[in-house]
């Protein structure tokens, strides 16, 4: 863990006995070290974008609420609650605040979305796109090494 502002930098350390790294191996090491962080930020941006828009324009999203009339007040409240959760998860994932837990919760939310979309519309390009995001969340849930994580 680094000493600067509680940002953890647990990562693979270079072996002093290893041969001089090539550019390719450096790139691979860089990807291995920072890939999960980049994935965290990108997943967080997706969640933040949807969370922000669900909070600021809930009426546009009520059509996605299963089993509830899109015109109902209840549907708007559900969208607002969903947007609030998404924004919280987004900040937690991007900042690295309990990132694996946040990613796990995000994976559950995305799983619900994928199942709902599949039931209502079948396997379409939109559903498969969400499956990809779900996979990203699952991957982050299983990733123990996190750089730039706010642990304090």
């Amino acid at each position: 863990m680094s000493k600067n502002a509680g940002w953890a930098t647990k990562g693979r350390q270079a072996s002093p006995a290893a041969a001089p790294p090539t550019a390719a191996s450096k790139a691979l090491r860089l990807a291995a070290d920072w890939g999960p962080t980049v994935a965290r930020v990108m997943l967080g941006l997706v969640l933040a974008w949807f969370g922000y828009h669900e909070l600021t324009a809930p009426r546009l999203w009520t059509g996605y609420v299963p089993g509830v009339s899109p015109a109902s007040t209840f549907a708007i409240l559900l969208v607002l609650a969903h947007g609030w959760v998404l924004l919280m998860l987004a900040v937690a994932i991007i900042a690295g605040i309990a990132p694996r837990l946040a990613a796990a919760v995000a994976a559950l939310l995305l799983l619900q979305i994928v199942i709902t979309l599949t039931i209502t519309g079948g396997l379409t390009d939109l559903t498969l796109r969400d499956i990809g995001v779900l996979g990203l969340a699952i991957c982050l849930t299983g990733n123990a090494r996190q750089r730039a994580a706010l642990t304090r």
Binding site: A5, G6, G51, Y52, E54, L55, T56, A57, P58, R59, L60, W61, T62, G63, Y64, V65, P66, G67, V68, S69, P70, A71, I76, L80, G83, W84, L87, M88, V91, A92, A95, I97, A98, P99, R100, L101, A104, L117, T120, G121, G122, T124, D125, L126, T127, L150, T151, R152
Partner: protein, 185 residues
């Protein structure tokens, strides 16, 4: 604080607390504007949800052939009382989401916005008969508008359309304006 094996420190807690407050403020803003942003005859008011497969427009009444109708309006009985002009479409927040359907040939964006909907415009007497509804649902009703009316389909997000389906009808709507761009109520 440890939750499920992960530590949340004081700084993390503070960040989450600030986020929670900001999110609540955004939600309050969204709640206060929940009745704005789409035309009153938005298709979300039909009580429909989920994906609606798009049916092909009626061969006899393509959008490029005639007038418009709001799905929630009563059926048109012919040229009765003319609709009242309201505010200009260009002054509405959803103006940037409006795609012209009539007159002329709908653009590619307009056609994409029509996915999941059935919009029919046809000449009727000296005016237009317009109808709009959700594909796969009961036949849409029609309404009469005077000559010169312009028909727009509203689609806030084209990203919720997939193939021939519209996943979210909550951001769809139909607007008819007069020749001056004023929304006909």
């Amino acid at each position: 604080m440890r939750i499920a094996g992960e530590t949340i420190g004081a700084r993390g807690t503070a960040v989450l607390a600030v986020t929670a407050v900001v999110a609540i403020a955004l939600g309050a803003h969204g709640w206060s504007g929940r009745n704005s942003g789409l035309p009153p005859n938005g298709l979300s008011g039909t009580g429909l949800s989920g994906t609606r497969p798009a049916a092909s427009p009626s061969p006899s009444t393509p959008a490029s052939q005639g007038p418009t109708a709001a799905p929630s309006r009563p059926p048109a009985q012919g040229p009765t009382a003319p609709p009242t002009p309201g505010p200009k479409l260009s002054s509405q927040s959803y103006a940037s989401y409006a795609f012209l359907v009539w007159p002329g040939t709908p653009s590619a964006s307009a056609k994409a916005a029509e996915i999941g909907l059935i919009i029919s415009v046809r000449r009727q007497g000296t005016g237009l008969s317009v109808s709009a509804g959700v594909a796969g649902q009961s036949a849409p009703t029609a309404k009469y508008y005077p000559t010169g009316a312009r028909v727009y389909v509203i689609e806030a997000s084209l990203g919720d359309d997939s193939g021939n389906s519209d996943y979210n009808l909550g951001d769809d709507g139909l607007v008819v304006t007069d020749a001056q761009g004023r929304i006909l109520q």
